[in-house]
C-alpha cells in the first residue's frame, strides 16, 4: 500500500488461493450455474403453459415466479458476487439498508396506491385509454376499421 496508510493487511490478495482450492471453487460455481439454468428453463416452461391452463395472473403463479426469482438473485449475490465470503458486518451493511428501503417502497405503494383505483381518481386520459382498449378487445380482429370518424378530438395522442 502507499505511504499514506498504516501497515494495512493487503486485502487485495487476501482471496488468492491455490489450484486445489480453485478446483473446489469452480465446481461450486458450475453447480450454481446449472441450478440457475434449471430454474430459468422451468420458469419458461411454466410461463408458456400458463395461458392454455388458465394459470395466467393467478396468485400461485405470481408467488412461484417471484420466489424463484429471489432464489436466483440470492444465488448470484452469495456465490457469484462472493458476498457469502465477506465479513458478517459487511453483509449487513449492504443488505439491511437495501431490504429496508425496498420493503418500505413496496409497502407505501400498496398502501397509498389503492386511492388511484377508486372511482373519481382516474384522470381524463386514463378513462379514454381504457375505453379505447376495451373497444379494441371487442371489435378489433385485424380488419382495418379506420375511416369511421371518431368522436371528440381530446382522444388524440398524435404528436407528429
Amino acid at each position: 500500500m502507499s505511504e499514506f496508510h498504516d501497515d494495512y493487511p493487503s486485502y487485495e490478495t487476501m482471496y488468492n488461493h491455490d489450484e486445489a482450492y480453485g478446483k473446489k471453487a469452480r465446481r461450486t460455481l458450475w453447480n450454481v450455474f446449472w441450478i440457475m439454468l434449471a430454474i430459468t428453463v422451468f420458469e419458461l416452461i411454466i410461463g408458456s403453459m400458463a395461458p392454455s391452463h388458465g394459470w395466467s395472473g393467478t396468485l400461485g403463479l405470481k408467488v412461484l415466479f417471484i420466489g424463484l426469482t429471489v432464489v436466483k438473485a440470492a444465488a448470484i449475490v452469495i456465490w457469484f458476487m462472493h458476498l457469502g465470503h465477506e465479513t458478517k458486518f459487511f453483509k449487513y451493511t449492504i443488505l439491511l439498508p437495501y431490504i429496508t428501503f425496498i420493503l418500505y417502497a413496496i409497502f407505501i405503494i400498496l398502501v397509498e396506491g389503492i386511492y388511484s383505483g377508486q372511482p373519481g381518481n382516474f384522470t381524463r386520459v386514463d378513462k379514454i385509454f381504457i375505453e379505447q382498449q376495451q373497444e379494441l378487445k371487442k371489435g378489433h380482429d385485424g380488419a382495418v376499421s379506420t375511416t369511421e370518424a371518431a368522436h371528440g378530438d381530446e382522444h388524440s395522442s398524435e404528436h407528429h
Binding site: F33, F80, Y98, Q132
Partner: protein
C-alpha cells in the same frame, strides 16, 4: 470459509485495519451497486403500481414478444429466454475469470474475460433486435387479433377526425396496450441495456489491461473482481426485469 480464518472481528474495530476486511475500491463498488439497485427497485415498484392500475388492459408479454430471429413462427418468450441464458452464461464466465485471477492465472483471466465480453455484446445486440421488433410492430396491428391501438388523425379533405389503426410502438401510443406499457418497456429495459453496454465497455478496458499485463505487474487481479461485481449486478437486475416484465 478458509479465507477469513485468522480474523479477529472484535480487534478489527480498534483501528489499523479495515473491520470489513475489504479493500476500499471493492467496498465502494458495493455501495455504488446498492444505490444503483435502489434506482432499479424504484423503477420496478412504480412499474408494478402502474401495471396493477391498468390490470384490465395490460398486455400479456407472451402475446407481445413472440418473434425469433430467422424463424417465421410464433414462439412466445423463446428469444428472451435465450437472452437470459446468454447473460447468465456470461455471468459464469465472469466469475470464472475472477477465480482465475485469484490463482494469478493470466491466461485463464484472458480467456474467460473474452467470453464475458462476447456474451455481453450478444445480449446488447439481442436487446436492440427486440426493440426493433417492438417498435415496428405487427402487420395486423396488435398481437394475435386482440389489443391494438388507434389514434385520431385530422383529415383536411373531409374536415373530420379519422380513426387510424396504429402499428408498432412509440412513447405516445402502441399497438399492444396502454401507452404506459411501452413507456416502461423502453425505460426499464433501456436503462438495463445501457448498464450492459457500459459493462461491456468497462470489461473491454479491463481486458486490454490484462493483455498488457497491468495486473500481473500490480501483483493482484482485484480489478477483475470489481468489474465482476458490476457485471453480476447487471445480471441480477435482468433476473428481476425478466420476471416482472416477461413472466408475470
Amino acid at each position: 470459509m478458509a479465507h477469513t480464518a485468522e480474523f479477529d472481528a472484535k480487534a478489527a474495530w480498534d483501528g489499523g485495519q479495515s473491520p470489513f476486511r475489504i479493500s476500499y475500491g471493492k467496498m465502494m463498488m458495493w455501495f455504488f451497486l446498492v444505490s444503483d439497485a435502489l434506482t432499479f427497485g424504484g423503477l420496478l415498484v412504480s412499474y408494478g403500481f402502474i401495471r396493477h392500475k391498468y390490470a384490465d388492459v395490460w398486455p400479456k408479454a407472451e402475446n407481445v414478444f413472440t418473434h425469433f430471429p430467422f424463424i417465421e413462427q410464433h414462439l412466445p418468450l423463446a428469444y428472451v429466454g435465450l437472452m437470459t441464458f446468454i447473460l447468465i452464461m456470461s455471468s459464469v464466465t465472469m466469475v470464472l475469470a475472477v477465480e482465475a485471477g485469484h490463482r494469478m492465472d493470466r491466461r485463464g483471466v484472458t480467456v474467460w474475460m473474452f467470453w464475458t465480453i462476447v456474451g455481453g455484446a450478444t445480449f446488447v445486440g439481442s436487446q436492440a433486435w427486440e426493440w426493433y421488433h417492438f417498435i415496428v410492430g405487427t402487420h395486423t396491428g396488435g398481437p394475435e387479433g386482440h389489443g391494438g391501438a388507434w389514434r385520431n388523425v385530422w383529415d383536411p379533405a373531409t374536415h373530420a377526425y379519422i380513426r387510424q389503426v396504429y402499428n408498432g410502438a412509440t412513447m405516445a401510443v402502441n399497438e399492444y396496450g396502454v401507452p404506459q406499457f411501452a413507456n416502461y418497456f423502453f425505460f426499464i429495459t433501456g436503462f438495463h441495456g445501457f448498464h450492459v453496454f457500459s459493462g461491456v465497455i468497462i470489461n473491454l478496458v479491463i481486458f486490454l489491461n490484462v493483455l498488457k499485463g497491468t495486473y500481473e505487474k500490480r501483483g493482484h487481479y482485484e480489478m477483475i473482481e470489481k468489474v465482476g461485481l458490476y457485471w453480476h449486478f447487471v445480471d441480477l437486475v435482468w433476473v428481476f426485469v425478466f420476471t416482472f416484465f416477461y413472466l408475470l
